[in-house]
């Protein structure tokens, strides 16, 4: 194991928090699983009612809108969440799942067609973008617009945030859907009512913002890390080929160890003692999901990847009211990927890779790859 996989180990052994500095703000990161679950269930003390400040670092410079339903508290949170839930449940429908599987098959076809592929650009980004069209029920050709938004909409390699492009694209999509309504995500939000009124454009943009930004780097990193893992561990691919019933537990184990989202914030409306760290009113705390997933109090040999790990109470999709709406989509893609790779591919060789590290003042954590040039061999 590389220290960039679990940069919180030492701090977690010493105590329940790591006081870490982000852009001149010192934030206690809660590191242990049970403590995080407790905080996530206490929105009065640890609130999400803070536009553009729930993610750490803050996103004040990269988006103009509050994200819904992420950045509101119960009880109104439930009403916001209900509006978009039907779209997030679509990946559970057999016909939507079949499209995801066909998409994965077509990407594997291309990967097996000859020369090397660059997994980030040629596999993970197209997979994420096309699959999202199925979830949002929009024309598949829209994916071509999104592919250029890079790995992370807000912080891509060239240093320029694609946030403004994405916002103006979404605004146009809402306007076009108003002219020409259909069964898609944009039309549904145009028509949705909240407490007896239509949504404002700001609210609609806020729903779209997280659907595009939240569901992007998370899926892309998960896909690239799974492919890289299979390249390093050919026996795992063989084992899944022989035991297809292990696909689901393997997917959960990959979510646990390759958690793409290090942590997320909450705001303390009042002065709060967080395991000995005094948070001032309106100050923030971090729920460090990625540390919780390696908590040795909960997971035996937390740094071992065990494809049949059970129980595996990871919190990669959060916990409590805000648990990830995209989890059905993420599971459909990840399970489909593992299943198809283990059926069709006998080996993967990495020719070149560039790791993507999250570098903060107090830790460096590996989240995925910027580049992963590989060859796939057919079974």
């Amino acid at each position: 194991m590389n220290s960039h996989d679990d940069p919180f180990r030492e701090a977690r052994e010493k105590g329940p928090i790591l006081a870490a500095t982000f852009q001149n703000e010192t934030i206690p990161m809660i590191l242990r699983l049970k403590d995080i679950r407790k905080a996530a269930k206490d929105p009065e003390t640890f609130s999400s009612d803070a536009p553009r400040r729930v993610p750490i670092p803050s996103e004040e410079d990269v988006r103009t809108v509050r994200q819904y339903p992420l950045e509101v508290d119960p009880p109104v949170h439930a009403a916001y969440r209900k509006i978009v839930e039907p779209f997030f449940l679509r990946p559970k429908q057999p016909e939507v799942l079949a499209k995801i599987h066909a998409l994965i098959d077509s990407l594997i076809d291309k990967s097996l067609a000859g020369g090397p592929i660059e997994v980030v650009q040629d596999f993970a980004i197209p997979l994420q973008s096309h699959a999202l069209t199925y979830m949002l029920n929009v024309s598949e050709s829209e994916a071509e617009h999104w592919i250029g938004w890079g790995i992370h909409v807000f912080k891509d390699g060239d240093g320029k945030s694609k946030g403004p492009f994405m916002e103006s694209y979404c605004r146009q999509m809402f306007e076009a859907a108003a002219e020409n309504p259909g069964d898609d995500f944009f039309s549904a939000l145009n028509q949705a009512e909240l407490e007896g009124r239509l949504l404002t454009m700001e609210e609609k943009l806020g729903f779209a913002n997280i659907a595009f930004a939240g569901g992007r780097d998370t899926i892309i990193h998960t896909v690239t890390r799974i492919i890289s893992y299979f390249a390093d561990n050919p026996k795992a691919l063989e084992c899944l080929h022989e035991n297809p019933s292990m696909v689901n537990s393997a997917a959960e184990e990959f979510f646990r160890v390759f958690m793409p989202l290090t942590h997320i914030g909450r705001i303390c409306p009042h002065a709060t003692d967080v395991h000995g760290f005094e948070v001032k009113p309106q100050g923030r705390v971090s729920l460090c999901w990625s540390s919780a997933n390696r908590d040795p109090e909960v997971f035996d040999e937390p740094n071992e990847v065990k494809l049949d790990r059970r129980p595996n109470p990871h919190i990669s999709f959060g916990f409590g009211a805000h648990n990830c709406l995209g989890a059905h989509h993420a599971r459909a893609i990840t399970r489909g990927l593992i299943q198809k790779l283990s059926e069709r591919v006998s080996g993967i060789e990495v020719l070149e890779n560039v790791e993507l590290l999250e570098e903060e003042a107090d830790y460096t954590r590996k989240v995925g790859y910027e580049l992963l040039r590989s060859t796939f061999t057919a079974r």
């Binding site: 699983l33 049970k34 679950r37 407790k38 996530a40 269930k41 689901n248 537990s249 997917a251 959960e252 909960v298 790990r309 059970r310 129980p311 595996n312 109470p313 990871h314 919190i315 999709f317 916990f319 409590g320 009211a321 648990n323 989890a327 059905h328 599971r331």
Partner: protein
């Protein structure tokens, strides 16, 4: 083969005879409303939360510490709560009755 009865939150009763596997798997095969089984049975998501009828608790047994920790913070947690994926059907449990807990 053992029989198990599910009572959904809307009070619909579904009897499954010849059941095998764990309660989450049985519920999914029989389309029991309110059981998601999202994580596939690894004790992570708690969308297979059920209440074991009081007279069955002793025979079914209590959750282990991992399962209890997952359940404990659930808004609908009760002392007879279990995660369906952690309860394996057996002849010993023939006649078991469980209620599906409300969604989080």
């Amino acid at each position: 083969m053992p029989k198990v009865t599910f009572i959904t939150a809307e009070k619909t009763t579904v009897e499954v005879s010849d059941s095998s596997g764990n309660l989450m798997e049985i519920a999914l095969e029989n389309n029991i409303t309110g059981i998601g089984g999202d994580c596939g049975g690894v004790c992570s998501c708690s969308t297979c939360h059920v209440y074991v009828r009081k007279d069955w608790i002793e025979r079914v047994g209590l959750p282990d510490s991992v399962e209890k920790d997952t359940l404990e913070f659930n808004s609908h947690y009760q002392p007879n709560s279990r995660l369906g994926c952690q309860v394996e059907m057996s002849d010993d449990l023939d006649g078991l009755v469980v209620e599906v807990a409300p969604a989080e």
